[in-house]
Symmetry: T
Subunit: 165 residues, 12 copies
């Protein structure tokens, strides 16, 4: 059942209610994942140890900044479709589909593996979201998820490159 209530969906936008409802739910699900993963990347930024500290500390900070931006774009697409954005930490913690980070992790390579796993999962749900938006004929939401997927794929390449060669 959709989390979106009838009262929140009145708007002049030219997309029918039956398309907007599932899009809003989809966007709020991605918002929860985005915000959760944002916090996990910061966790890695703060706690990573080892001789690669400096470059990983900076890399994680840059990646986190991207997710902060995705969250804002996703949430404001939900509101543009007439929905409520559901973006508090407690909502993210409850709804996120991303695995929690092992809290004692400090090793650089372990963090890179953990992040690569999570970016792959996030990239997959983001790519699936493109498809679902196209199925609802919502080319704009599709475009937003395409943009995010493209960046996340590139970030995954950065992360995985540390683990190969």
């Amino acid at each position: 059942m959709s989390m979106a209530t009838a009262t929140e969906l009145e708007t002049r936008i030219d997309i029918p209610l039956c398309s907007r409802e599932p899009m809003i739910d989809l966007l709020n699900q991605q918002l929860a994942d985005t915000f959760d993963l944002y916090s996990q990347i910061k966790q890695a930024h703060w706690n990573v140890k080892g001789m690669k500290f400096m470059s990983l500390h900076v890399l994680f900070d840059d990646l986190a900044a991207n997710f902060d931006r995705y969250a804002d774009d996703i949430a404001e697409r939900a509101t543009a479709l007439g929905g409520l954005a559901r973006g508090t930490a407690r909502l993210a913690a409850t709804n996120s589909q991303i695995d929690e980070l092992p809290i004692e992790m400090t090793d650089g390579k372990e963090f890179v593996v953990a992040m690569a796993d999570r970016f792959a999962a996030y990239g997959a749900s983001s790519r699936a979201a493109i498809k679902r938006a196209e199925d609802e004929n919502d080319a704009v939401t599709a475009d937003l998820f395409t943009e995010i997927t493209r960046e996340v794929n590139k970030s995954l390449y950065f992360l995985e490159s540390h683990l190969q060669g």
Copy 2:
């Protein structure tokens, strides 16, 4: 009948004439609407009154700047397809599908309502243009209208948010 004449359509671009002609007409129609709406937002920027003056004066200026940019991008896609851009004020006044603003309007909320109505209409024709570009297999023109629709949808959310809650 298309406004585009045969002589203006010679170019090396790899899109057949039969697709370029309707695209050029479509782009010139959107150009007229864009330029007209640009002028109306400035009208609101200049004449709005009331205790919200400052934030609406600034908001309308920012929104107008966006439409000035859309006009340039739309016109230069028309020329890239071998067409003439048809962009003078008189052409915009003749061809625009946007309703004229009541000329004595000064109330802030009335301006926000009027703008929300016009942004909704413009967003709908812009989204329709995505579809028509895809039907002509012109992915680039479709991408341009997707970008514009995305921003216009967000601006509509900004405007409508003033009227809700």
Copy 3:
């Protein structure tokens, strides 16, 4: 008969109503011309052809940006005097004293000639406006038109220099 209505003229500014009314009408006339000419320079920016394309495309864009700024300054002087700014595309199309551009024009030199003719006409009405503002003892409006005339005279020199030598 003045377009300025009684209701729109209440303000604390220390210029008598009998001076403000003709100034507001004058400013709105110049606003119509400014906005129309702005659109015509963009028309040239988009459609110019020939081996001088690049430098004329850039030159017309710079000149257009100036007129966009003049429009804002003129309109906000009209409002500062207690008037309504009358600045939509339809109003500009109706009231402009500038000749329309021949719509099929693409030749660089023809555009420069057409622009030189229109800048000369605009510069002349702008200089006349200085005089009329001084006659109403409105030194501030006179200063605004002096500034605009100075820039327009310089732009005319730029344009005419292409046609001489």
Copy 4:
């Protein structure tokens, strides 16, 4: 009697002593008003309350910055004419022609009204100063007051717009 003493008036500037003396007195009078009004706008910036707090807090800060600049330009014109600038807080407090702000004022609209009243008075004395400078054939001082009057008129339009519509 002029505040300007003989000893302070020796300079190479090509304006006769009989013109410089009244100009220096005029500039010092406007300096007192400017500095006093600067402090009052800051007072409004600090103490305004109500749901429009944020936009008024910012607006008053921007307006205050303008008056800080006017004070510097006015004072340095007085010194350029061979005079002493008389610009301490105590001198401003003694000589200012601007009404003191009611010290317990916190309401946003009341502040806007109070500022509009004071900007109108200041704009009027500034415009009068243009005339007096022209009477002394001091085109440069006239130009300075024209510039200030133009900005103050526009700021008055910003303030009054809050109270209309």
Copy 5:
């Protein structure tokens, strides 16, 4: 019992273990509150409605940016003291002492009240943290909390000013 484990506390810093342990726990508690409140301010940024939309939307975004910075500074003081930063969304959701926002809230004034209440609570725990750091002779941690308290007090003044006057 302290969350800080023995293994995580080896460092060359000249503060004894018995002082570092309570400081790390304190910093992690403030981190949870900071991150939670950061997410709530974004929630307000996204969902606020009403004629003050624009200025509140911007105000909440600026305030959120501050809390994002506090989180980084607090977490990195915990790591500087030899601790683990505990900063994921799930940890924040579990440990935060800040009340959750009513999730359907959209009214501007209600959001300002809710934020003022939460900033007051956060400012109080932040000020208490200064004291506790001083009790442990950790002048640096005290300085960090002093800085944060100072900004949060000022932000509270911004928020409360909307509700007074």
Copy 6:
């Protein structure tokens, strides 16, 4: 007797009324001195004469800019504590504890001596304010005065260095 009235002191901040009242009075006293000294430094900036003109003219302008910033920070701490800021020129003139500048002063060295005397007095009252804020357990106000004292001490070193060696 405190200038702070009961009505102005309601706020959510976690400092008791009995501490906030004397702090607000103290802050308003320092505000008067700050604003007065700001105006005196500008007076020096404008009227200084002699072969060191240029470097003193610039030095006094830089020092004045600092005091303009102190005034803003002090006033907004008073409002953050629930007080009214009392910051008009007339209030500064009435309440300032700083000696007025001899109005005919133009000599560079005399100005430096006069400024050094006033900066020393201001630095002393600012340092005393740190202590009084600590006595009220208001670490934030103490931190503000510490910051100001630090800069003023450094400025005094700049000034005194001109007079030594």
Copy 7:
């Protein structure tokens, strides 16, 4: 036969191997063309002669900068899909589908014609690449080629405009 070897294709990305292989080959083909054309535009930048030297010299430099950027984006999409980027000058020389520039060319108009021909060819293969990416359900690669095609179409309009009118 695909240039992509099995060993280079292991990655967490959610696109099946059978789609990634042809995409990597396609991207490497476009990379060769991009890098070759980049070098040819620089060749034009360096060797162009005639009275339009300055504007063509600058135009070619700007266009070259775009192709340097396309090369980076294309190569890093190939690596993101698990492939090797094949980007040395010798590989570009061997694999490019773009005709070599006549090496003694110096005439401005001849360079513009030669560039227009090559941009048209490149734009066509870039547009074809959008389609092939969509056929493999790789919306991200399609988006990248859409972006590039859009810019290249606009650059072609700039180039062709020199030859028309």
Copy 8:
């Protein structure tokens, strides 16, 4: 006799030939003085000696930059009026009304006196030019000389302040 020849005076500008001729001569006279004085200020910048070296070296460089700008503005007003600008070093040397600098001068105070004398003379001819432009009803040229006179008067105040007090 006017230096302006008939052939150089054709232009669309709305000022009659009988006014443009004397304005062009006047502008070319001021151009010669401006360029000559520019070179003299650089001479001072390079050769000044004494314990005030650094601040005078910088001051003269700033003042020279102003005159370089005046030259450009004056010359381009002459061309805007249909004239030739006459701006080579040899023309400046022949036509300048400014006294040559004693070539062995190195003393700081002597340079300041020499510059003050020359700025006073230049300011006087610049102010006279305002009047002559007004007599020809050329408000734009008058405005240009007003602006220059204003700055030169302020620079004279800077210079003279070194010699007083």
Copy 9:
């Protein structure tokens, strides 16, 4: 015995001589250590070898820049208190309490260990200096050392993180 001589201690600052003397000695001791450590970090910046070269080369440069700034702040606090700053390389070499770097060191990890040891020692003496300044009731000097200690503690966390995990 204090290095500060009686003659150097005359100043208007409101701190008694008996407090200023030990503060000046303390500041000069820290200045020697700061300058010495600055040079050692540069030594590491230049001579570090190994696969982490690039990130350590950059990290050491950033850390060195901080110490250059500390030196300036410490020295100018000594002069603000009426003292001489004693800051030549020979004085630093003689008075520094920091161990000299083994001059043939090139290994990255060894440099990180050496720097961590020295930053810990420097951080400890800096924290002790806070206490000694507070004992002399010199809150401003205490504030300076608090700021430095905070940054140095964070830098130590950066360095130690390379050695852990």
Copy 10:
């Protein structure tokens, strides 16, 4: 035999033809090497793998940017001497004296070794070019190669430092 033809060598530059011919050939040889090495560094930038990925990815990008600049400077010195620049990818591939990179290389250290070898070879031919330019009395070309050699020597130190210690 020289690649430079007689027709391309006419210019006003004061260097005899017999010197310009060998310089142009030398510059075109260095251009081929530069462009080839530029492409190889990008190849490393794209394909490097391993835990040092991020810092090597960035390092190679910075080094590549330098070579792009060298190519431009070298080519434009050849044209300044009256020659044709010979700068297409195919020409670089044919004429380069740099060894091709093994195309399957991904290991970070192997890339650093390969780059160090190639930078050493390039630096040697660049230094030899200084000598040859001096032998032709072309101090300007010598200065260009000196500048490049200096940077390439420093880059080699960066690369080799990764392999030592």
Copy 11:
């Protein structure tokens, strides 16, 4: 006979008087040429006509800015060697070896030819100056002229490119 007098040549620089004298004379000769050519390029900037107006107007302005910089560097090398810089317009007019521009010139191509001729002559004397400085073992002056020659050679290539192809 040298223009440099004995009295002006006392300095601590480690170059013998017998070398400094001819260098100062050489530098003053180049200063005269530089300043004269600077003025001629501005003359071209102002008076050029024809359809290439805009790009030549901008090109000449950029070239002029270079010569303004050369003049400053040359003059300050003369003073660094203990000489007087001889840089007024009258001195430049008397001593320059550059041919005067025909004063009625307005044609774009004629200006380019005239400038190419003059840049070639200037480049030749600048290159000769390198040699003369080396003969006096003044490597620094040689380096300055090498730098200037390099830029002037490149500018000549820009100019000549307009006349070829």
Copy 12:
């Protein structure tokens, strides 16, 4: 005997060991002098007194910044040649050839004389280093010392100008 050890001299650079050894020693000698002089200029920056305080305080800071940059360039040329940079404060103190500053110096003119003496000595050893680098056929090291000598000569002119005239 050379300080450079055999083990530190392995590198791919194309300069023979017999040339690199003396260059490394020379560079380390200049590094010691540079770093020592850097510290002495800061000493002057901090302790200078008198009415020229401000301009000398700033001048010395600018000059010190140059020497900080020279040290970095010199040290990194030594490492580029395969050497160890020997750059700690203790090494500088031991090896510097620059005279120590009298530690009680505060007078502005005395500082300028002391600095002029030291800059002259430093400039002489720097110029000698050009020659020695050329004797080893190391054009790059020669170029570095030429650049430094040029700046130091200009700085000496700034300093000496204070003492002349």
